[in-house]
Amino acid sequence: MPIAAYRCEDWFSREQQQLFSRLWQFAAPRMLLSTPNAFVRRRIGLLDVVVQNIGGKIIAFENVCAHRQSPIQTEPQGVRALVCPYHAWRYGAQGEVLNIPAQDTCYKFSSTERSQLGLRTFKVFEFGQLVFINTQAEPLNFYEQFDADAVQSLRQASEIFDDEVLVTRFECQFNWKLAYENLRDSLHPQFVHSRTVYKQVKFEARIDEAELSKAYSYHRTGANTTSEHLRWLRSFSGGGPNEPMVKMPRYQWHDYVQRYGNDDWYLNWLMYPNLHIASGSAGYSFIIEHHVPVSARRTDLWVYYVTGRKKRKYPTSAAVLMAHLRGAEKVLAEDIAIMEKVQQNLSPDRSITTGAFEYSNSAIERWYLDTMEGHHAI
């Protein structure tokens, strides 16, 4: 992978165009959109995107008013009608303009002009409690990007996510791809997280020889057909039970919430390109990590914490989520520190050597470079 992929803004723009704008991307957890007019606003590459619940339907649109390009929602999330704050133009569930105050006295749009006014909307796909969007006019089928069976367990797990969500954002000074190479590397925890999560979960780097040789061969030659190309894409997403927990910690609140599964295993899912969901409590609570690329060297890490659905309300539920965050922050800080150093050290005269245990990253690298060069248009 050329170093420019991690540092160069032109590469970043091209990546947005070739990759992100064509793939289904995670936008927000559905629990944040459960009441009418609830919305989430995120910057996705160069686009300012809002996902909003309009009369029960989830719509996604470019957050730019058709009048004078003012952002319609200014907060990162909240509950607010779909009305532009600048001149109060009101929009409906198809992004159409429902009302323009003073249309007859001031604007005087003809009916043809009026019919052309609307928001640029994007396709939405809901998967369990996860909302994905695609900014292409004719996007690929969701199941061409994700294998339904491979992500079945994630769908089921997300269906028990509780409505109380803790949301936070970390501003990181590294390219988003470093985060995913890090997440797909199961060797680093014993070194980087020896004092934190590695104590609870003994992550191991396992090498499946058959998979390894397939990956290397693909890395050398690429795919022959578009359907093979998409097959490889699907192979990058999946997950479920990852490693057994060394010792399963038990807390009072476990009794108040539903649990996904019954085994005391660390759960881990990856949805390509930039969604990671895990459970360090063996199914009682979950972290959603969404690495949103901001520029070549900057990434916003949006973190959501939820427990399983509450069986009954209990007064310390918010504190439980805060405690999760505090624990996770230690681990994240360890990863972020390393990735920021790696980012700083990347320079054109260096190159990266991947080890055998990182074979999945090799396959992704091949797929990524082929997509960036426009082979097998999606």
Binding site: V64, H67, Q69, T74, Y86, C106, F109, L119
Partner: protein, 371 residues
Amino acid sequence: MKPALEVGHYIQPEIFEQEQARLFGRLWIFACLRTAIAAENAFATRRIGGRLVLIQNSGGRIRAFENSCPHRLMPLQTAAFGQARMVCPYHGWVFDSMGKVKSIPKEQSLYAFSQEERDALCLREYAVETLGELVFVNLGENPISITEQFAPSLIERLEAISSHFSDVAVHTEIPVRYNWKLNFENVLDHQHVPYVHPRTFLPLMRSVSEDKARESEPSQYPTPSDLLIDQSWASTSPIKIEPWPWHAQVDRYGPEGTYHNHFLFPNVNFISVDGLVFLIQQFEPVSASETRVIFTLCAARSRVRMPALPAILRGHLKGEVEVLMEDVHYLESLQAALHAHSPAVHHGQYEHRLVGFGQAYLRWMEAVKPC
């Protein structure tokens, strides 16, 4: 209505550079109030069209020079306002009131200029026009007449209203993160007031009767004009403000209950609240996505001494800045979201002034000066 301008005009650095040369380098640009430099050797400094300009009150006249010593280009003054003879701080060169070099310390022993060289040493001078208390500068080599930019009736109005200005004013420069044109378009557009300024500005306009408010919208809007002279104009509207004792002590301009609004192409909005308070807002371009909003606010001239005048001016400025910050909140958000493929703008008929502004802007952005 389709807009005249495209998103590139609000985000490209090349467009910004072109504006500096072709618009700000060739039009009459507001520089300062005459009251702020109303004494011998009082001065103001500005950045216009990418150049540093020194506006100096010298020999009884207001003159504008390039703020750059002919020796080694050091600026003569760096403060925004002040009072000082024209002397370069670097090597002590002294200038006369017309900008010619009068004396140079140790001239013969250190410099030994030829007579020809010496005669040519002077500050580069720019054209100045004063409309009442408003001082304008034109950087162009063959500047257009100011009456080509501002109609005589508008000039008369500016002279009349500014004759009421108090001798002191309050001045501030607020850095904002959006293209200057967004703010000029914003002040040209009255429709946003009820939504962006519901608690600050709207109540002043609303307190007028509903009938009067409805009357103000015409049944038919004119088609946009791209002529330079049409881009600067004045209007009045009804307003009701709370009376304060100091109002009775000053020389109000115009009839009571009037809000005066003047637009001066390319980047000045000058308003007066009831002829008692006057505010000049200028949107100074800093880069494609940054602007300095320059506020100069004064009161009507007083018949008696007003020891509390600074507090009064400061109070009004605070209110005006509050209104501006409501706009800034949205405009900074808007600018941050602009990109090469942003969705298009759609103007309503009432925005004909914005379209005209864009059209005139485009004509002046061409290399050849429009006639």
